[in-house]
Symmetry: C2
Subunit: 332 residues, 2 copies
């Protein structure tokens, strides 16, 4: 149990989730003592199992070190449980790089997938937009970007029930210098595919555009997501401050509070917590390191959805279909 | 006079600006008839000169076509006026790519500057943060990123009066895959320099971090800026919608309106309109294409500030100093 808060957040979130879903069971992996302390009376719930793990991967530990030296970390043990079919999914708030490296090493990638990627949803004008990759892959070739589109598209269909999700490729607006070579080549691959590709989109389309999925390399995706987090926090703080300037604004603030709060819930990033590691032979969900109880419960909910809709199997099928189409096109 | 609205926005903004500053004069470049129509009585103001230009660069025209075929466009003529010393700065709401290509061709880059870059300020926790590059350079080498840091740093000192502005290099948080090669090398150059380099920063630091300048390549910068624009617009719309749901929320909205409006003014992107093209032998300011009267006036104000603080000359000096330091380090 990693993340910034460990069992003190993860265990209550797990219990909240079990309270809502009668047909599910959870294996809590981590330091047994710390978990029991948080569980208290709930330890007798037969849907809760504890699996002790003696090590912890630090949030700033290098993925390769974690992989080499932390064979009994909660992260590693949880992923092994998925590999062995004991668990159907792993949810972790731990070190993202280590989680990806461990998941890739233990579970392996699906056939035809060169690189796994990280995907999440953000709120948007028309509901929500999925973004990938969010940091697993710094330098991406056109074929990687294309595979991200195939995987992300299938995830949205499987989990959200959207038929033919609209796919955009992130680019910048200057015509002459439109994109680098990888982006231009990925565009060609996407145009030739049977994905519902709508073409290039720009940063503002993530929130305002009519697309379900925006594809980009991991450096750009990470920057887009973190920049958004920073701006949302800043605006939230400025808004609060505006209502706290003097007694008059405080009174107006009281009247407006329920509305402001409803507004906050609409774009509350906690509702969107839970990024999926796509392209692996198993389901792994990354929760934000700073996730609170509500946020972490949302990450578990995403794992549940992916289990029910068989995401890895469906992605494997789609990747095979697209590989086959590409081979035929190449042949002639 | 380009941009989405042409003289109907630019001329009133110019007159507003002249109304505030008694010691300045403006040359309005574009279609003389259209400008006169907007000027009306103000045409007799001796601080206003009209310079007719017969062509217009379309917002989606390719920079190379504009450069080849539009030798009498308002953009080209305005930049020629800067080159000839008739004007001290050019402000344009036109096609960014064409503006940069034309400025680079006509004015040339400063000695020692490999590539000009685009910089702007955004609101942040501690006031404002400058970002560059915003789209002029898709693929940047370490030395380009380093030069951006030198130029941006000097701009902030010259215009904002900040001594030793804090410079951050944008990166992503995964330790193992921290940045691509260019970013890592730029980091080394910055560490060795005498700039006030604070190290790697992430996307959220643009708004929440304690830095004055964030350096990144143009693709990433463009995405960060456009993503922010999209999110700010979305949140603004959601907030308005929250107050318009029913009569009760409308009444609360009336009480809260002055506060909401003050909040909006704080982060109003119009207050930040005006991006500088740095590294050229002259001052060129790019206004947002969709700028309104207030926004465009802000862009003119930025031009005025750069004129008074001699930005190109100061940047040339700083670039020379840093080139010299680098040579000594290489030799020593």
């Amino acid at each position: 149990m990693g993340g910034d808060f460990g069992p003190s957040v993860v265990v209550p979130a797990a219990l909240d989730f079990l309270g809502e879903r009668r047909d599910l069971a959870l294996i809590l992996v981590g330091n047994e003592g710390a978990i029991r302390e948080q569980l208290q009376g709930a330890a007798s719930d037969e849907r809760v199992t504890i699996r002790h793990a003696s090590q912890i991967v630090a949030m700033d530990e290098s993925p390769s070190r974690a992989l080499r030296n932390k064979k009994d970390s909660s992260m590693r043990v949880a992923i092994e449980l998925v590999k062995d079919g004991v668990a159907q999914a792993c949810v972790s708030a731990g070190n993202t790089g280590a989680l990806m490296a461990t998941a890739r090493f233990v579970l392996k990638t699906l056939p035809g997938v060169d690189r796994p990627a990280i995907i999440t949803a953000v709120p948007s004008q028309h509901g929500s937009t999925h973004l990938l990759d969010l940091g697993a892959n710094v330098d991406c070739s056109a074929i990687h970007l294309f595979q991200f589109a195939v995987m992300g598209s299938e995830l949205i269909t499987a989990v959200e029930g959207v038929t033919a999700p609209k796919v955009g490729l992130l680019n910048i607006g200057e015509e002459e210098i439109k994109g680098n070579e990888q982006v231009k080549q990925a565009h060609e691959l996407l145009v030739a595919s049977d994905l519902n590709y709508v073409g290039y989109v720009e940063g503002d389309d993530i929130y305002l555009g009519d697309v379900d999925l925006v594809v980009m390399d991991g450096f750009v995706g990470n920057v887009a997501l973190k920049t958004s987090e920073g701006l949302a926090k800043l605006l939230g703080r400025l808004l609060s401050r505006s209502f706290k300037q003097n007694w008059l604004t405080r009174i107006s603030g009281l009247a407006a509070l329920p509305i402001i709060n409803r507004f906050r819930r609409t774009y509350d990033p906690r509702q969107y917590n839970g990024a999926s590691l796509l392209g692996l032979r198993g389901i792994v969900i990354k929760s934000h390191g700073g996730a609170d109880r509500l946020s972490f419960k949302n990450a578990i909910r995403i794992a549940e959805k992916e289990i029910h809709s068989n995401v890895p199997e469906r992605i494997a099928q789609q990747v095979a279909v697209h590989l086959d189409q590409e081979r035929r096109r190449a042949a002639g």
